[in-house]
């Protein structure tokens, strides 16, 4: 079965009562099939109950446990020790919070501003197209859904926004743009123009550097950059038409 690894975890810590920030080192012996969330729990149980970290489902479906490991944003519940050693070629991991909002304590980030950006783009049907409402469901061919279905798998873990070169300051961010593009492409949505005008507005796609970092780090392997590109393409098309 699995091997045992000598692991060093260097964790960036923050104490809100003293506003102190420091790096704390933990050494631990861990089986290769343990995950990073298991290691956090192990640290809490065996060495330091004060280390604070976030998680919920712990099987890659909710995105609560996103952290940066050796600079790479990922889900702590999905990274097995053996795979981490293979991925980074080293048994030492530097772990810090994702950078999309203020740190509340240790690895826990206040997601309010980050989710605020998604919510400002209205992740629902703003204006329903007339279609049998109240009598039955809309009819949508599977081929028609293909254009946006992949994007509905996004769990808003903010790994892409963390990796994004533009940062969250004046930019809505790749996941928020993708959520809006889902509704642009959804045949039930009538407010397409209104959505595109926001995506093409001051905090929209113009900030994207097309580095594709978002796609490269997505734990769900969604091609996030593709949806940002679709938003840009819509703008180009509009320019040509006018």
């Amino acid at each position: 079965m699995s091997d045992s690894y000598e692991i060093t975890m260097k964790i960036l810590r923050y104490d809100p009562s003293t506003k102190k920030r420091w790096t704390q080192q933990y050494r631990l012996q861990a089986g290769g099939i343990l995950r990073l969330t298991d290691l956090f729990r192990k640290i809490n149980m065996e060495q330091d109950p004060s280390l604070a970290w976030n998680s919920s489902c712990e099987h890659g479906q909710c995105g609560s446990c996103a952290v940066k490991v050796n600079g790479k944003p990922l889900l702590a519940c999905e990274l097995l020790v053996a795979n981490a050693v293979k991925l980074f070629g080293i048994n030492q991991f530097f772990i810090e919070p994702i950078s999309v909002g203020p740190v509340v304590r240790d690895l826990i980030v206040d997601l309010e501003p980050a989710y605020g950006r998604v919510e400002s783009l209205k992740p629902y049907i703003m204006k329903r197209k007339e279609n049998l409402y109240g009598t039955a469901e809309y009819r949508i061919a599977p081929q028609e859904m293909e254009s946006y279905l992949e994007a509905t798998r996004c769990i808003n873990c903010f790994c892409c926004a963390t990796a994004c070169m533009s940062g969250p300051k004046n930019f809505l961010g790749p996941n928020a743009i993708m959520a809006s593009m889902v509704r642009v492409l959804d045949p039930r949505e009538a407010a397409t123009e209104q959505r595109l005008s926001v995506l093409h507005g001051p905090e929209g796609v113009r900030h994207c550097h097309t580095s594709r970092a978002c796609s490269q780090v997505c734990p769900k392997e969604i091609d996030v950059a593709h949806y940002v590109a679709l938003a840009k393409a819509a703008q180009t098309k509009k320019h040509r038409e006018t």
Partner: protein, 596 residues
């Protein structure tokens, strides 16, 4: 140390828990009464992180356009699956409302999977049949393998549109009353470390389950039975807590669900000696026998010393062998689950044996309600202004065993019913709170922060989880249950000796886990006492010393526990209105045998 109230806020409707059931309730109220001030409390960072989001399979509902399926078949399947413990008035109400809910979700943008004509696709699921067991029913609509996420995302959008206020990463620590009427709750906001009293005209408990009480569970980290504690502390009962469902094939370690599909495509369960043991337990059905039977077979092998132990997971398991299946089956029929094995235990299901064991999955019991979601104080009386929906509630749609895809149906329909009923309270005045607001909460939390001692939260929690898995799990027996009750009380005493390292209030994870531990202990005590009291076997509850169903116990149990370990039990009859009304298929709704 003196803890104090930071502020008091008021709203019309207070929802405790922002998963599927809570948000469906909120959406109903915001649609029917625009401008209603709704506040929802969630323990997670954002409602999208709720446990509902992890539901995979589907959502059962009978399409009125379906030429073969009928609501009465769905009612029968649910009744039979429940081992004759579901309340039939609730079964009828939910089943009849099902399709309207599907349309509601679809019209609001849920991305249901479609058939080639663009209509909602449907698939079969275990226990769902047409014509009273004749053949499998195509009854479950779904969004790929992420139906729960589809529901959550849709509901989140709808309540945002309606103008809900969320208080994230916060938890309700105490229900507040105005006389008999529930009029709000104390809330601890984790990020700021503030205690807030929230006054409301109606309060909805929608806090999910208590799966973390077991060592291996498919549940989220925050499902710690907080609702059961809130209820019993307020002097309210909990119904049928012993009705716990174990899924036979959880991926050992993380407890991730490995779908039934693995067995239906030909996966073989093997013990340590690689013997295909299901032949011994169900010679005809083997791996395809019902969930509870397969779970008991696996546990028996483990108990007989034929399990496999891996130190990293520190719990025994057996194998599911998928190596003989053709490449295309791995690629096209089980890609998602195969990827789980790869991702979470580093096993290639095409070449290696995959480790699985029975995992806690769902709690059929909970805070008792009527068919409108109103919480019951006793078998006859409701608590004015208080509702409970979703897994935390027990309107008893599932009885003692839940069918796959019925939980999502239950949580959205009951959410809607509770919302409709809550509207009646919203027109009146805001009730005044009585007593020392939040005093119980302050005393409890001050004690957590001040206690000096050697015990540790993690130690006590893991001991409790191991104890519950061993003695109150798939198999239960008088002696073991008695030991469990005694040991849970001992663990409660140990918990009183826990000293916390982090002593300030803001984002104090230790403090939250300490509070959750008390809730786990309360939940464990209720489950173990309920199981000890119920001297028969039905659905998810299996007593080795009483392996048959007993007609003397054809009723629900209401457990009251105002003081830890002192449990008072009352009975509540099972509603058998479909049987008693004598309709065309009434005989199907009697005390029938659960045979498949």
């Amino acid at each position: 140390m003196k803890l104090r109230l930071s502020k008091t806020i008021s709203c019309d409707l207070l929802i405790l828990g922002a998963g599927g059931a809570g948000l469906r309730c909120a959406a109903e109220v915001l649609e029917k009464r625009p401008g209603t001030k709704v506040v929802a409390i969630t323990k997670v960072a954002h409602p999208q992180k709720s446990h509902t989001s992890t539901a995979q399979g589907g959502l059962a509902a009978v399409d009125p356009k379906d030429p073969v399926d009928k609501p009465v078949y769905h009612m029968f399947d649910t009744w039979k699956g429940s081992d004759c413990m579901a309340d039939q008035n609730v079964v009828r109400k939910i089943v009849e409302a099902g399709w309207d809910e599907i349309l509601w979700l679809e019209n609001r943008g849920m991305h249901f999977s479609r058939d080639m004509d663009g209509r909602l696709a449907k698939r079969t699921f275990g226990g769902h049949t047409i014509n009273f067991g004749e053949a499998s029913a195509y009854r479950a609509v779904f969004e790929a393998d992420r139906t729960g996420k589809g529901i959550m995302d849709t509901l989140w959008g709808e309540v945002l549109r309606g103008g809900i206020s969320f208080i994230h990463q916060s938890m309700a620590t105490e229900l507040l009353f105005s006389g008999e009427r529930c009029a709000g709750a104390m809330v601890f906001c984790q990020k700021s470390g503030e205690f807030v009293a929230i006054k409301a005209k109606a309060v909805v408990l929608a806090m999910g389950g208590c799966g973390q009480v077991f060592k291996v569970t498919t549940n989220c980290r925050q499902n710690t039975g907080d609702h059961l504690s809130l209820a019993v502390q307020a002097g309210l009962p909990v119904m049928d807590p012993e009705a716990v469902q174990f899924h036979p094939t959880g991926i050992v370690g993380p407890g991730i669900l490995a779908s039934e599909t693995l067995r239906s495509v030909g996966g073989i369960l093997r013990n340590r000696d690689l013997e295909a043991f299901m032949e011994k337990y169900a010679p005809k059905m083997r791996e395809l026998a019902p969930r509870d039977l397969v779970a008991r077979a696996i546990e028996t092998e483990i108990r007989e010393g034929k399990g496999v132990f891996n130190q990293d997971h520190s719990i025994e398991h057996v194998w599911i062998d998928l190596r003989h299946l053709p490449e295309h089956v791995h690629r096209t029929q089980i890609p998602e689950v195969a990827s789980f094995f790869k991702k979470f235990v580093n096993v290639d299901s095409r070449k290696e044996l995959c480790p699985i064991r029975p995992s806690n999955h769902y709690h059929m019991g909970g805070v008792p309600t009527n068919s409108d979601g109103e919480v019951l104080r006793d078998p006859q009386k409701t608590v004015p202004g208080l509702f409970a929906v979703g897994e935390c509630a027990c309107a008893s749609f599932h009885g003692f065993n839940r069918l796959g895809t019925n939980s999502l149906l239950e949580l959205i329909t009951m959410g809607r019913f509770a919302g409709q009923k809550a509207l009646e309270y919203l027109e009146g005045e805001l009730p005044e709170l009585c007593g020392d607001i939040g005093e119980n909460t302050f005393q409890t939390f001050a004690a957590y922060l001040q206690t000096k001692g050697q015990a540790k939260v993690g130690d006590v929690r893991e001991k409790l989880r191991a104890l519950m898995t061993e003695k109150v799990g798939v198999f239960r027996v008088e002696g073991g249950l008695r030991e469990a009750v005694t040991q849970i009380a001992e663990l409660k005493a140990q918990a009183m000796e826990i000293a916390l390292v982090t002593r300030d209030l803001a984002m104090n994870q230790e403090l939250v886990e300490r509070w959750e531990l008390d809730n786990l202990l309360t939940s464990a005590m209720l489950i173990a006492t309920g199981a000890l009291h119920r001297k028969d076997s039905r659905g998810g509850h299996f007593r080795e010393d009483y392996p048959q169903r007993s007609p003397d116990l054809d009723s629900h149990s209401l457990l009251y526990m105002e003081e830890f370990g002192k449990v008072k039990i009352e009975k509540k009859p099972v509603d058998m209105s479909l049987f008693n009304e004598g309709g065309p298929h009434a005989e199907k709704f009697g005390m029938i045998e659960r045979k498949y």
